[in-house]
């Protein structure tokens, strides 16, 4: 199924929850609402015409204009087609609905995005830091992150 068909189908089904799309990009992407990601992803996975059963990658991104985002690279083992979904939230209210109930692999990817960007995934079963220590201050992959001078009273060497 082409990106255009996927977009048309999603738009017809979910209306305003599906935002802009760049279907002529190197890898076409569709923006979706951050409060309805689970519903949309569930539909994409379960509907036989799409059957996106494989979540290749889930990445947090800091767009540096006050927005944080999450990018989902979906793939279908059955139909062998791909699509990229994007969702955005603000720095002040960094909440995005979790999709770990749809794909098990999203669990750790979302924990990583939470760890690195401070994006809170609502309804996530076990949202803890994964790579940094539990008491690490701040979110290191945000563009405005500054390495703290001290960490738990220890001088950070650079």
């Amino acid at each position: 199924m082409t990106a255009q068909e996927i977009y048309d189908n999603l738009k017809a089904k979910f209306g305003d929850a599906v935002g802009e799309a760049r279907l002529d990009a190197l890898q076409p992407w569709i923006a979706i609402s951050e409060t309805r990601t689970r519903e949309i992803c569930q539909f994409l996975r379960d509907e036989p015409a799409f059957a996106f059963d494989y979540l290749s990658c889930l990445s947090g991104v800091d767009y540096a204009d006050g927005k944080l985002g999450v990018v989902y690279h979906l793939f279908s083992m059955i139909h062998r087609h791909k699509i990229v979904l994007r969702t955005m939230c603000t720095r002040e209210h960094p909440h995005i609905q979790s999709v770990s109930a749809v794909w098990g692999t999203a669990n750790w990817h979302e924990r990583e995005a939470y760890d690195m960007f401070g994006i809170v995934f609502d309804e996530h079963p076990d949202l803890r830091r994964i790579l940094c220590g539990d008491d690490y201050p701040g979110y290191p992959l945000r563009k405005d992150f500054k390495v703290p001078e001290f960490y738990n009273g220890m001088k950070v060497p650079y």
């Binding site: 990009a25 190197l26 890898q27 059963d53 494989y54 979540l55 290749s56 990658c57 990445s59 947090g60 991104v61 800091d62 990018v71 690279h73 083992m77 062998r80 990229v84 794909w103 098990g104 692999t105 669990n107 750790w108 990817h109 690195m116 076990d126 803890r128 830091r129 994964i130 790579l131 940094c132 220590g133 539990d134 008491d135 290191p140 992959l141 738990n152 009273g153």
Partner: protein, 393 residues
């Protein structure tokens, strides 16, 4: 000013609850395996909830080797400088990491790669796959109590490292595959030595099959243990031998082609449940063994037909891709290694996300270990073949 140090107490395990918030029943206790434990293959801590010898739950704790690959990549002054850092992610298959990253940047630049470079990359990646699988198989044998195959595996891996050393001077972290080309052309006598290696390596494979694969004890330890069903494997986005061991006929080299894999004759190997159930530890082991055979075939065909040419003609002087983003994946020895690169039109990447196969494969460990014995967990964790450098990046 008084400095306060408060740990978020929710996250700390206690005799009553695990760090993920599970309350223990009377019969259950927490057992920590790692971070320093020979069978975790690196600094991985597994927090086990056990009821006697039976595993009720596993909570992996990772991050001990976190070296901020993604942050480093954003702070480089150009795209080429990321490659040495990519080397250090999965330090047992550096060639494949380099290639995966180079593929992503080349796609952003829409670069054409010379024929000779394509052949060299394929030969290097397949040699690396054999070297990496040899470690996987060798250390797995040690985990199961067999010492001899380990030595044979390392003996043959050494010959591959010698080949890499004579090509680029490094034995482990190569910085060899660059965007648009490779750092050195093949040295004289490389082709000859690679052919010799392939011929001798077949014998080693047969020896390992004889002493380990069909060994009664080994089969008892691995067959029907840690069964990963097909649908769970796909739901957890497992890849590489993990996914193929569960009987999914899927290999990115064939199904999302890159390089020149489509020109050669080779087959994707999948688990068939010969010793037990499809998707058990033995199947994952066997897929690796058979993949080494296929890689040998690929190397033999490639060195026989490698064309002449300049290996550095396509390396761009200045890398400045147009603004855009790309996710490119390739088949590393552990599975789908993807790089998501965002370019903002400047000389350094805006964001690089590495989708590490070992990280994703490890996340399925709790699913396949519940109900197993503690000793079986060693077999299960070994069959996942994690490299902690890649899990933590």
């Amino acid at each position: 000013m008084k400095e306060s140090r408060t740990l978020p107490t929710d996250y700390v395990s206690s005799p009553e609850r695990t760090s993920s918030g599970r309350t223990l029943r009377t019969d259950e206790m927490i057992l920590n395996m790692g971070p320093q434990h020979p069978s975790t293959h690196g600094v991985l801590r597994l927090e086990l909830v056990v009821d006697g010898e039976i595993i009720v739950d596993v909570i992996p704790h990772i991050g001990y080797l976190h070296r901020c690959f993604e942050k480093h990549a954003e702070h480089m002054t150009n795209y080429q400088q990321v490659i040495p850092y990519a080397d250090r992610m999965d330090y047992l298959s550096s060639m494949c990491n380099d290639w995966a990253y180079a593929l992503a940047v080349e796609k952003l630049l829409k670069l054409e790669i010379p024929e000779r470079v394509q052949y060299i990359r394929l030969i290097m990646a397949e040699l690396q796959r054999i070297a990496s699988h040899l470690i996987a198989v060798g250390t797995y044998a040690i985990d199961m109590g067999a010492f001899t195959p380990f030595l044979w595996c390392f003996r043959d891996r050494e010959r591959i490292l010698d080949l890499f050393e004579m090509t680029c001077g490094a034995r482990l972290l190569y910085n060899y595959i660059w965007v648009g080309g490779v750092s050195h052309d093949l040295p004289p006598r490389f082709v000859e030595k690679a052919k010799d290696f392939c011929r001798d390596f077949r014998k080693t494979l047969k020896e390992v099959h004889d002493v380990l694969t069909y060994n009664e004890i080994f089969i008892k330890r691995t067959a029907n243990v840690g069964v990963l069903p097909k649908d769970v494997a796909i739901n957890y986005a497992c890849s590489g031998p993990m996914l193929r061991g569960s009987g999914v006929d899927w290999d990115l080299r064939r199904d999302d082609p890159y390089g020149i894999y489509d020109r050669f004759e080779w087959a994707v190997q999948i688990g068939k449940g010969e010793a037990g159930t499809v998707g058990d530890c033995w199947d994952r082991y066997m897929v690796r063994m058979r993949e080494m055979e296929e890689s040998t075939k690929l190397i033999e065909q490639a060195v026989a037909s490698i064309p002449e040419g300049n290996v550095q003609s396509a390396i761009p002087k200045r890398i400045r891709p147009e603004a855009g983003e790309v996710y490119v994946r390739s088949e590393s020895p552990r599975g789908e290694l993807g790089f998501y690169v965002i370019s903002d039109g400047t000389a350094s990447p805006y964001r690089v996300k590495a989708r590490a196969p070992a990280f994703v494969n490890l996340s399925v460990l709790p699913e396949i270990s519940r109900g197993a014995m503690v000793a079986d967990l060693v077999a299960i964790a070994g069959s996942v073949d994690i490299v902690l450098g890649e899990v933590d990046r």
